[in-house]
Symmetry: D2
Subunit: 220 residues, 4 copies
């Protein structure tokens, strides 16, 4: 019913061989539910995951440059060629300049990639929505990795972010993140008007990753 994007970050449990196992599990669980479950691994793991699994793969970041004399950069065109579905943009651990977010959202539209622009509060959610990305993902920084679900601790942030985004641009979808790990919190997020959730440690660093994901989507 909802959207679930799992950010693998630079977690040991979400990289290399562990990333492949994690994706196998995600693919399994995904087949049993109607929710749209996608993953965001690091750049080095991304191509193999795209080719081996039947799940949508997002990058965690992309650089605001095109082809050319840029060393150590990943462009939108590279992501497209490797089969990525889209990318997180402006994650709180990889903030971008406003002009660069706009550059990327436009470029993604041209290339048919899905843009997920991360924000930190209601005002920046409205600002990001004005750029017309596919998704805005609101994550109050103080709750990231805290285990305290934003949909429970600050429901008004989710509600107001949804309203602010839709006021600016009706078509923008809204995810919420930070602290979400239980089914109840996920459902609350949807009830508050969000289209889904963005999570990381709640799944990737869970002692039992499968159990964590199954619980999240209500299979347990």
């Amino acid at each position: 019913m909802g959207v679930v994007i799992i950010n693998f970050k630079a977690y040991k449990e979400g990289s290399g061989e562990r990333a492949l196992k994690l994706c196998e599990m995600v693919q399994d669980v995904s087949a049993k539910v109607d929710d749209y479950i996608a993953v965001a691994p690091n750049f080095l793991d991304l191509p193999e995951i795209v080719s081996k699994f039947d799940i949508d793969v997002y990058a965690q970041h992309v650089d605001a440059v095109g082809f050319g004399s840029h060393t150590g950069r990943i462009t939108a065109e590279f992501l497209k060629e490797k089969g990525a579905k889209g990318s997180l943009i402006n994650h709180s651990e990889r903030r971008l300049r406003l002009a660069d977010i706009d550059f990327l959202v436009s470029k993604f539209k041209e290339l048919g990639l899905i843009s997920v622009v991360c924000t930190n509060n209601v005002a920046t959610t409205a600002a990001a929505a004005a750029l017309a990305p596919d998704y805005v993902a609101i994550e109050p920084p103080e709750l990231i990795g805290s285990g305290i679900p934003v949909s429970k601790a600050e429901p008004e942030i989710v509600e107001n972010s949804v309203r602010a985004a839709k006021d600016v641009n009706e078509e923008v979808k809204v995810l919420c993140g930070a602290g979400i790990s239980k089914h109840e919190d996920y459902i609350t997020a949807l009830d508050l008007g969000a289209d889904g959730v963005l999570l990381a440690s709640g799944i990737v660093k869970a002692e039992d990753q499968r159990k964590a994901l199954e619980e999240l989507v209500g299979l347990r």
Copy 2:
């Protein structure tokens, strides 16, 4: 009638002793017209200019931090105490992260400082307007320092920026910049709906700075 903010940048002609002379001239010209003419000198020159001249002084930049263990940073509180009227924020030569622009706009509101958020196109103007700053200043980067006035070369950018900003937030005022130096271009900008202009080299690096400013505001 309109707003004119002059960015002194790190120009030799707009720093140290030359900055003081330039401000004396600006004060002179300002007294003869109804336009609101303000200056944006570098941090080191700012306090003396505030204390010596009867013109509004803006910083060129401000850091998104508060009091604390931050070395080499200028906070909004410092600007306030020194008597600055406000600051440029996110100038194309000093781009900021979206979350930091929002932090500064909010902080400025609390402190009673005027925020002038610079943007590069219609989309980022709408995004910046969503943060509710006092001004958005749109400057197409390709025209900065070009001598080609944005109000002439790309009037639709000015018009669309004004409309986009007002659609998001009616109270936001819009400046336009890049390539403006003649009275005609300034008037055109106002006719297109802008509240004024942001300039730099057109005045600061003019052979005759007084003549350049007088021409801009229609005194010659």
Copy 3:
């Protein structure tokens, strides 16, 4: 006997009116001892402090650009014109790229400004010394603001840094920082071969700033 540079950071207690009072006290204490005591206030306070007090004033940071189209930047030339003695460069709260540190050290030499390049361990101290600045100031980041003096907790870092710096360039002087506030720690630093200390909170945030500085230099 030694060098004492006090970094005012963005501390409330070291900015605006409080900075002026602090400098008056530093000037007082300085007159009673042989130590070289200098201050590093923020950019906005720097010019007034230079003009009012008979102590050497350093900037906390300087940008690696010259005159030109740079907004919100402070150049070495600006510092020189305002009467600054030199600047901290690459402080742990304002790290710079290697090429920019080199640019600044060279520019400072041309202009007759004193360069104080901050480093975090023995290896980066040797690297910085290879650029031939006037001072290298080694501050283990984990001890900054900790109240645990580097000269006591990790005397071998101080000793090895001095040796590493001198091995590369005999003329480079070495300061040490982080956690220093007592006379004993200062003396230990000198005994370990350092030419002095760089401090901040130990003086600026002390309940009684005068008492703190007098104790440091052995007046109490």
Copy 4:
């Protein structure tokens, strides 16, 4: 006889399918000469190139973080697990802070990865050598992509860089880059004391990439 590292940058001609063809050619040429020829593709192409070809593969960049809550970052550990031989560090298009260069060089030593630290002049070469990387690669920025070979235009920079590096640390090997494309320039670089060259456009953007590489290593 010498070392040749080819940086694919974000060139269209060096990414995706084109990167694979380029590597096949490099592998071919490499088999015919004694020179050590290695490639530095972008992150997304790196794993497949490692697995398909018998040539050493370097990353173009690596982030100064370990495992953890870091989004959009590539760690040294990730590179190691994917079979990269090492990485360029501090390329002129991806400059790093001094402390981060040191962090990476140390981490690479632990992990058995080869560090190639890029620098821009004699002073920064000495500084980088003080960190004891495997290689320092000196590239005067004004010559990058210019077609003017550093070994011809500024032989003294190559010679002095080699001397400066060895003075600080005898074991550090020195590459030179910028503008190199002919065999003669490569040989001159070796004669001046360099251990090899770092190139990019000279090969990757050549009309005939194979011809360009064969000429470089003296096969034509």
